[in-house]
Amino acid sequence: MSGRDLEVITRLKPEAWTEREQQAAVDLDRLELSIFSHKLETTTVECQELLARLGASTGARWGDSGFAFYTAQGDISVCSTGIYFHAFLQQIPIKYTVKHWTNDLTVGVEEGDAFFSNDPLYGGVHAPDMTLFVPVFVDGELIAWTGAVIHTGECGANVPGGVTLQARSRYEEGLHIPPVKVASKYRMREDVLNLLANGVRDPRLLLLDIKARLAACRRGEERLKEVAAERGADFVVGALRTLIQDATDAARDRIAALPDATVRQVAFMDTVGTEDALIKLDLVLTKKGDTLHCDLSNSSPEVVGHPANSFAHTIIGKSANFLCSYLFPDLPINSGLSDVTEWTFRQGTFVSPSPDAPISLAPNVMATFNLAFSMACAKLIYSQIPERAVAPWFNGFNMPVYGGLNQWGEPVGDIFSEINGGGSGGRPTSDGVNVAGSYFATLSDSGEVEIIENGAPVLYPFRSQFLADSCGHGRHRGGAGMDTAYMVHGVPWVLLGAFGFGSKHPVSLGLFGGYASASIPAVRRSNTNLLELMASGSASVPTNAEELIRGEDVTGTVSFQSVSAPMQPSATGDVLMVATGGGTGYGDVLEREPASIMEDVRWGITSQWAARELYHVVFDPETLEADEAGTRAARDAVRRRRLERGRSLAEFEAEWNERRPDPWVTRYFGAWPNPAEAELPAPAML
């Protein structure tokens, strides 16, 4: 039966074993299971590689994608390490299909079918996250599913490029396709593809990505059928379900080994898309026995009329990020891992909004949750597994978006890929990694400039390695982020903007005394003469943001704005600078070795200002040699100042608790300081 289904979206955990699965698993050989698991893992990597080779979008080519094998019930069993949360969330459209279409006489699920979905209510994060999945049949029995997901930029929203900052409701966010059959009898339905392509500005992108997903799914289907032919369908059915149970059992053991504790962490989002505003996410993480319980009920209300919300299941999916990366990196990546988590949401908050809420900026909300969850988990696990208690990576987006006609006259709309060049967080024994990648996309790539310039109407004035002080400083600093600028080129104008958050309040916080990474804005320099400077071989061609902002030979006006920057028409020569953030700091800055700090200054990772004012190193600004004795004395003086200015908590709080931000800043916050203390407004449909 068709219609909205709010039950299926709660089913991220493994379904109960079916009788069929139980019988199939009875005589399972553990050695054979291990070989099977390895074969499927390598196949998922092969299939993700197919997405990169065949897909057209930035997401496909640079790794914002995922591929997985699912049981016949739709539980994820084996997945590529692309984007953990996509893999987890893609269970929902499959479970929807199993529930609604299997026994529907007008639809049905048969060998050779393929289904498409991009409705965030059913497991995409937002409308650009599109998925395709196919049933795997052996001897007429549905034994499994394969599925592929890619963030395909343009999705027909009220602005090009897929990530709208301006949506007031779900109905301004573009296509919302619940699971629909796009192929049958191994042939694509041209009328359905035509319907989908008709709803977006860049049909070529949409169609090529759909075909890339289908190719990957078919490859997975083929490989799974090879195993079934060799070992029998029973083996495949039993093995896929057993791998999930193994993950559950191992995850429970690992959680049980940690001490029971309650860890609290607040995190703040500082934009609703088109306006700065403070929104609070409040996490109470309670670890008891073999369970992690997350309570988010004291979080801000649903943001009405702006897309700064995320569905609860999307938040749950996001927990896969820290779980797979740090808590269970050695366990099979599947839905069994989610069995150890329990959740409390308050309906009507921005982390559990009404089904009609706009959510295109859900990535910001998920990142806010990820910040709180990864900080809380790091504090929880330090006593047992300190090497995994890592300060957060760059936790934001800083993702430029473009749309319009490119230099070939083709309609285009997509994101840029430099998000995949963020810094990782400081670690208990070492610094974070510079330009490490994206914290949520472990197989991603920051992209080749020449390839990007070939299809997008921009020229990169520079994409230097490091933005100075982009990282959080500490005993072990975060990895540096990447310094990038985009100039409109080859077209009269194009729409250019960015999404992200953290320009007012930090998006990435440090651990155990480490500092946050920089609050990066979007910087525009319009109407520049960069092309003339380049053509003349001028020495004034800027090579980094600092030179571009301050360059005296560069014409045009500079403006700083939030990194959540609505798209605006930008003409040839206009430049947008959006740097990728660095990872955050770990531990006390005064414990960092002066020689390491000077090395960072030489590399342009740390400014001389930070070396002097933050790390309190005494050094020669010409030779960059540190004075060890002078530094010791300077740091001792800083420690004395800390003791002088520090007050007891009670004394401090007596004054502190009387203050509050300007009411305008907290207009979407809910009751200050605890949103849980007030009734929530009734949901609105706009």
Binding site: L258, D260, A261, R264, H505, F512, G513, S519, A610, L649
Partner: protein, 112 residues
């Protein structure tokens, strides 16, 4: 011989005494059933002291957190002044009691 478990970069819990302890200098940081912040010194800093401002004075965005939106709270060991924790909060937002262990369970986990 008291049993001490290292639970953060700079803090141990002395399981026998039930006390937070600075692992840099041995200073007693208070009852382990309460927040360790009760036993530390706290100071407020303007975020621009910690994050360099890289924009003109009149710009609302600068690469540093906005001082009207965000304050940096630093927590120091009263014994050796090591920076134990940093919290970035909007002005007046309650300070988080972030970490409370079940000591019986911590003892059992430490024994494993």
């Amino acid at each position: 011989m008291t049993e001490r478990v290292r639970v953060t970069e700079t803090l141990d819990i002395d399981l026998d005494a039930g006390r937070w302890t600075c692992n840099r200098c041995g200073h007693d940081v208070g009852d382990a059933e309460q927040s360790y912040k009760e036993g530390l010194l706290v100071a407020e800093r303007d975020p621009e002291e910690v994050h360099p401002r890289r924009a003109p004075e009149d710009s609302a965005y600068s690469f540093a957190p906005d001082p009207e939106w965000c304050r940096v709270l630093e927590f120091y060991c009263p014994g050796c002044a090591v920076l134990v924790e940093v919290e970035y909060l909007p002005p007046g937002h309650p300070i988080t009691r972030d970490l409370v262990f079940d000591l019986t369970s911590l003892r059992a986990a430490a024994a494993r």
